[in-house]
């Protein structure tokens, strides 16, 4: 899922400093799961902003709503009625949600409440870790299910660098050397020979270097 975390509240308040009434929109997708933008966080943020503004003698009116997902236009459309008389919309979704809202309501001031961090999973409750580099050309079948692009600090594709010591990366004792992990796992799987295969240079054109990407499936497109 997408992992996001809330911005400092002062920064959010700053973005809507000139507004009298705002709509806060949570998202029941990834950001609810990573505890950053569900109904709870949305209402906490709304209450906090109201209190803050009342302390400044400049009361703020808030409306809260949680969209099923902010990355689908149909769900954005469900809040048409709420948007009308607000001065701004605060999205508690990932960057996708903010943009979809901004696209639909061109005349509204739309601001992000979250910083979209990475794609990852929850290691334990409350700890999320980055696991995928979104390279567009997955290599996990060659690397024992361990991604060298995101888990190696240098995204090296052909084995560890000189900074690998005792299984750890030179950047920190807490970071495993991805290539050590890859080697250990391939060894355990009895597939070390796979690592010896010569790989062509990675096709980075499938990564985001070529500008914003699109994924298309003709077979499911409607009309």
């Amino acid at each position: 899922m997408i992992i996001a975390q809330q911005k400092p509240i002062k920064d959010i308040a700053e973005m809507i400093a000139d507004c009298k009434k705002v709509l806060l929109v949570g998202c029941a997708g990834c950001v609810t799961v990573c505890l950053a933008g569900g109904e709870k966080e949305t209402e906490i943020l709304a209450a906090a902003l109201r209190i803050m503004r009342r302390l400044q003698d400049n009361p703020l009116e808030t409306v809260t709503y949680v969209a099923t997902r902010q990355c689908d236009p149909e769900y954005i459309a469900t809040m048409d009625n709420l948007v009308k008389d607000v001065d701004a919309i605060i999205s508690l979704a990932c960057g996708v949600g903010v943009q979809y809202i901004a696209e639909r309501y061109h005349d509204k001031w739309v601001v992000p409440a979250l910083d979209t961090k990475f794609i990852g999973g929850s290691k334990v409750h409350g700890v999320w870790e980055e696991k995928c580099g979104l390279c567009g050309d997955c290599v996990l079948h060659r690397t024992g299910g361990i991604c060298p692009i995101i888990r190696c600090s240098k995204s090296i594709l052909n084995g560890p660098c000189g900074g690998s010591q005792y299984g750890k990366c030179e950047i920190s004792k807490d970071v495993d050397c991805a290539w050590q992990l890859i080697y250990d796992r391939m060894k355990a799987l009895g597939r070390l020979d796979k690592l010896m295969e010569i790989q062509p240079p990675k096709d980075w054109s499938k990564s985001r270097d070529g500008g914003p990407r699109k994924a298309i499936r003709e077979d499911v497109m409607i009309g």
């Binding site: 949570g26 799961v33 109904e39 949680v66 409750h125």
Partner: protein, 1001 residues
């Protein structure tokens, strides 16, 4: 047996044992008569401040049980009552009890305390151990059940002040003694213990020196409900002590006063009191415990001891105390003269000395035992029938708690559940014949109706009305939104008020009811029953506590108290408008048990349940039943274990209700309490309502002391086998050395294995019995022959067994000698190394948790402690339950214990399990958390948080199993999309209360 059995049980003594046994029996389908000599149930536990080893507040954990026991429809409690006679046979006893007059009508008394306020007579309070005072009319302690006062006629001057003060008309000076006859099928005796009278030991100066206290007195000083509200001061001058000493074994391990036994609990309670005293003291406190052997043998005890010694600065001095004398100045401080281990004599001064007094049976208990013809031991405790845990020489009469020997709370509770289980098994055919069920009219459907709230404001005599202006509160309430009725009552809980309430609900067509009175803890169930009788769902009731939280605590500020009472009512009315009916969720019960582990514990549990008439699947991974007990030849009291075991196996294998699965393990578990489905490794699927995990323990294979290198080094179990088998290595040996704590009380296994000291002592005696000429040395750290096992320790010393203490830092050295094994150990008295040429060495090897504990912990989602043993739901009061309902534990898998104790625990597990199997329908616990599934993001927050495994993700959303949910609301508080709410405590309700508070009416 000729007559049909009676489906009721007499429980004598209403301490924690009596309460637990009564609750278990009543929940299993038996009617209970609970007879208590004092004016209230509770026993000793309410007097304690904290409990070891978790430092739980004693009253907090007991209080819910008091309420449950007091209110149970199938428990009839007689207080101020004694058993005079028991006649008849198992299944049919006739019991005569004598109930002394209370002079207060329990049904009329509201416990308001006006009478005590008026009473002119002060009497030292028994509850506070004489440190505080009570009146001649009194309630033993605040949370007491019955919540009623009692007149102590010996001190009453019959001035009539109480009668005048009592607005409920509850006082009746003319009450007389009554004799009551009861028919019961079985008797459970748990009359508890008496404390040793420390003044019998003149050299400690108790009673002469004001700063020498007993441990129970000290407990009251520490207690927040005690005479000094928990401020640690000396009763003598109210000054905070700076140096406190505890003296252990006062009235224990002392043959001169015929108290040769160990009281088992004092080491731990002394450490606890020491640790808590330190927490209570604002000034630095020097704490010393003078002891002989530190007996921290129970689960979690050793770590507690280690923490006290290493982290909390408690000084432990192994010593003999000669005498205490008083310093001749105003301070009245005390000087303790004691001998250290090496014989040197020291003297030290303390501000306060606490005597760790032992437990003994009271004379009335002894008398009762004699009357019933029970076998009593030389000290006057009941002697349980061998290897029964709870049986006596009189069939149908069972014992539990300290009556059968000094023991701590968890063991008492365990034995109580076991006695309940054993009584239930005896009366299986009469189960359900005498229990009552409350009948209610059908519930009115109030859905969609606008709230119509009735507010009933209570004066509580003058308790509330004397401070709060009740009429003003009523007037204000009338103007609140949704309120259609408001009225005032002298006692809202009296029977006439209850009748009026029902009528008003009808008349005004109320669909929500608010009572503003006292504590919901004591009174909510009562009022809820009333609204239920009026056809309203229980959840449509709410309470405002304007007594405990208002009039009582703002007695001198009537104006402000009235304002506060109004606010509290406003808030609760706002909440009431949002209340919704809560349907009781129920599910059927598969009346089958799965018992995992075919050792003595598992077989005992299986038999108990099978005798109760339930089908049992007994799963054992080995090809034969018996477990570790197959290697034991003799019990601690000399019992013949092989024949006991073969008899047990025969009973299990031939029992029509037991299906034995040998060579099988558990592979997968699904479902929850009442309805589990477990798959075994042989592919069989078992449907069951409860599970008991009793997979035993293992003997640690030592790596020390040449074990495995010399064939003359044995573990305890191996030595026992070799001894029984006539092994020539044993037969021809002249010198034996038994080494204790091998693998126990070590950093990697920081617990005591509990059974090894007694076992080594017994082995030593056996060796001496075979040939008195052999030399037997026991090398130990502390000899932990708790309870009556102490007698064997004494006997061993008398018969010439040599006990040498060693330090963990200076362990014995075992080397191969020319013909024998050379053991070098530093003698604790002489302080010099002693060399023993040993022919045979026996190692008291630790009991370790079986590897499969981990596997079952994952399959059943139940926790293990740090040492790999199963972790019970509560160390004190739920010693055989897991937090997940319907799963229980017994035997070594829970922690080291001897055979007798394992049997008791196995019966306890069966007793607890039968409280579930005895029901046709299981109901949810009142309020539970519910998921609005369309809002759920399946984020797993609830699943990860819940300690009871109640939430699960099913069909992409969370589902909370109402029968498992305990209603804490932790998941609701944390749910990121607010998909979960706790019934009756929704955030919206709390927010509405806040809004109502600050809104002007």
């Amino acid at each position: 047996m000729s007559a049909e059995k009676t489906g009721s049980v007499l429980v004598v003594g209403a301490g924690i044992a009596g309460i637990q046994a009564s609750l278990d029996l009543a929940e299993s389908g038996y009617y209970v008569y609970l007879v208590e000599g004092s004016p209230a149930i509770g026993g000793t536990m309410p007097m304690l401040d904290k409990t070891f080893p978790t430092n739980d507040c004693s009253m907090c954990i007991l209080s819910p049980k008091l309420v449950e026991c007091g209110r149970h429809l199938n428990i009839k409690t007689y207080t101020c009552a004694d058993v005079v006679d028991v006649q008849g046979e198992p299944g049919n006893f006739t019991v005569t009890i004598r109930q002394r007059p209370r002079y207060v009508d329990v049904d009329k008394c509201k416990g308001c305390g006006e009478c005590a306020e008026a009473c002119p007579i002060d009497v030292p309070s028994e509850f506070d151990q004489g440190i505080g005072e009570r009146k001649a009319i009194y309630k033993p302690y605040a949370q007491a059940f019955p919540n009623a006062y009692v007149i102590d006629k010996e001190n009453c001057i019959e001035c009539g002040a109480c009668e005048e003060a009592c607005q409920a008309g509850a006082i009746d000076h003319s009450m007389e003694e009554e004799t009551i006859e009861l028919k019961v099928g079985a008797v459970v005796l748990c009359p508890g213990f008496e404390k040793f009278d420390a003044s019998k030991l003149a050299y400690y100066g108790y009673g002469r020196y004001p700063n020498v206290l007993t441990s129970l007195e000290f407990e009251r000083i520490l207690s927040a409900s005690g005479p000094f509200q928990g401020h640690l001061v000396r009763p003598y001058d109210k000054k905070e002590p700076r140096r406190i000493a505890w003296i252990q074994c006062v009235g224990s391990r002392n043959c001169r006063v015929e108290h040769g036994y160990c009281s088992s609990v004092c080491c731990m309670y002394a450490i606890k009191e020491a640790v808590i005293a330190r927490e209570h003291s604002k000034e630095p406190l020097e704490i010393t415990i003078f002891y002989m052997d530190m007996r921290t043998y129970g689960k979690g005890f050793e770590k507690y001891y280690e923490r006290a010694r290493n982290e909390q600065g408690v000084r432990f001095i192994r010593s003999r105390t000669y005498e205490i004398s008083e310093v001749e100045d105003e301070s009245k401080n005390l000087r303790i003269r004691y001998a250290q281990e090496d014989g040197s004599i020291c003297e030290e001064e303390f501000d306060l000395v606490v005597l760790s007094i032992g437990l003994e049976p009271s004379s009335s208990i002894k008398e009762l035992g004699r009357k019933l013809g029970l076998t009593m031991n030389e000290y006057g405790f009941a002697e349980p029938a061998p290897l029964t845990g709870v049986g006596t020489n009189k069939p149908g009469i069972f014992v539990a708690g300290a009556f059968s020997g000094p023991k701590d709370i968890p063991e008492t509770v365990m034995q109580a559940s076991a006695a309940a289980g054993a009584s239930a098994s005896l009366l299986a055919e009469a189960r359900g014949t005498l229990v009552k069920e409350k009948e209610f009219p059908p519930e009115k459907d109030v859905s969609g109706q606008p709230p119509r709230i009735g507010v009933f404001v209570c004066h509580c005599g003058v308790n509330i009305g004397g401070v709060v202006k009740v009429p003003e509160v009523v007037e204000m309430a009338k103007n609140l939104p949704n309120v259609v009725y408001a009225g005032e009552y002298l006692y809202a809980c009296s029977q006439d008020s209850q009748a009026a309430m029902k009528q008003i609900i009808e008349e005004y067509d109320l669909n929500r009811v608010v009572v503003a009175s006292c504590s919901p803890r004591t009174h909510k169930p009562l009022f809820q029953e009333t609204v239920r009788e009026a056809g309203l769902n229980r959840a449509l009731f709410e309470m405002a506590n304007i007594r405990d939280q208002c009039s009582w605590v703002h007695m001198h500020e009537p104006e402000k108290a009235t304002e506060k009472a109004k606010d509290l009512v406003k808030m609760v009315v706002a909440k009431a408008a949002l209340l919704e009916p809560i349907p009781q969720v129920s599910a059927g019960v598969t009346k089958v048990a799965l018992v995992i582990g075919g050792g003595v514990s598992g077989m005992t549990s299986a038999l108990s349940l099978a005798d109760l008439g339930y089908r049992v699947h007994l799963v054992e991974k080995e090809q034969q039943l018996g477990g570790v007990a197959r290697r034991i030849k003799q019990g601690l009291k000399g019992e013949d274990i092989p024949s006991f075991l073969s008899d047990l196996i025969a009973r299990v294998t031939t029992h029509p209700n037991i299906q034995v699965h040998v060579g099988t393990e558990v592979q997968a578990v699904a479902g929850y309490v009442g309805n589990f489905v477990t798959t075994l490794t042989d592919g069989q699927e078992v449907q069951h309502g409860v599970a008991i995990i009793a997979i035993g323990g293992e003997e640690y294979k030592p790596t020390e002391y040449l074990y495995g290198e010399s064939d003359r080094v044995f573990t305890q179990l191996e030595l026992e086998e070799a001894l029984a088998g006539g092994d020539p290595r044993i037969e021809n040996a002249r010198t034996f050395v038994l080494i204790q704590c091998v693998g126990s009380r070590e950093p990697q296994r920081p617990y005591c294995s509990r059974v090894c000291c007694a076992k080594s002592v017994k082995l030593a005696l056996k060796l001496k019995e075979k040939n008195p000429a052999v030399n037997v040395f026991v090398l130990y750290r502390d000899i932990r022959t708790y309870g009556f096992l102490e007698d064997y320790y004494l006997e061993a010393r008398r018969k010439g067994v040599v006990f040498i203490r060693y330090d963990s830092a200076n362990k014995p050295l075992v080397e191969k000698g020319d013909s024998a094994l050379k053991v070098t150990v530093t003698d604790h008295v002489l302080g010099v190394p002693v060399v023993i040429d040993a022919d045979v060495i026996g190692l008291a090897s630790a009991i370790v948790a079986p590897e499969s504990n981990r596997q079952l912990s994952q399959l059943f989602k139940v926790p293990l402690n740090e040492d790999g043993f199963f972790l019970e739901a509560h160390m004190k009061l739920r010693p055989v339950d897991f937090t997940s309902e319907g799963i229980f534990m017994a035997g070594l898998a829970h922690g080291p214990k001897n055979l007798e104790e394992n049997i008791a625990q196995a019966k306890a597990a069966a007793g607890r399990a039968s409280t579930i199997l005895g029901k046709d329908q299981l109901e949810s616990h009142g309020v539970v958390a519910v998921v609005q599934q369309d809002k759920c993001a399946a984020c797993l927050t609830c699943v990860r948080l819940c300690p009871y495994n109640a939430p699960k993700i099913r069909n992409y959303a969370a589902e909370i199993e109402p029968l498992l949910c305990q209603g804490c609301g932790t998941c609701a508080g944390e749910c990121p999309n607010k998909a979960i709410t706790l019934q009756g405590y929704k955030d919206r309700m709390q927010m509405a209360m806040s809004r109502a508070l600050f809104r002007e009416v």
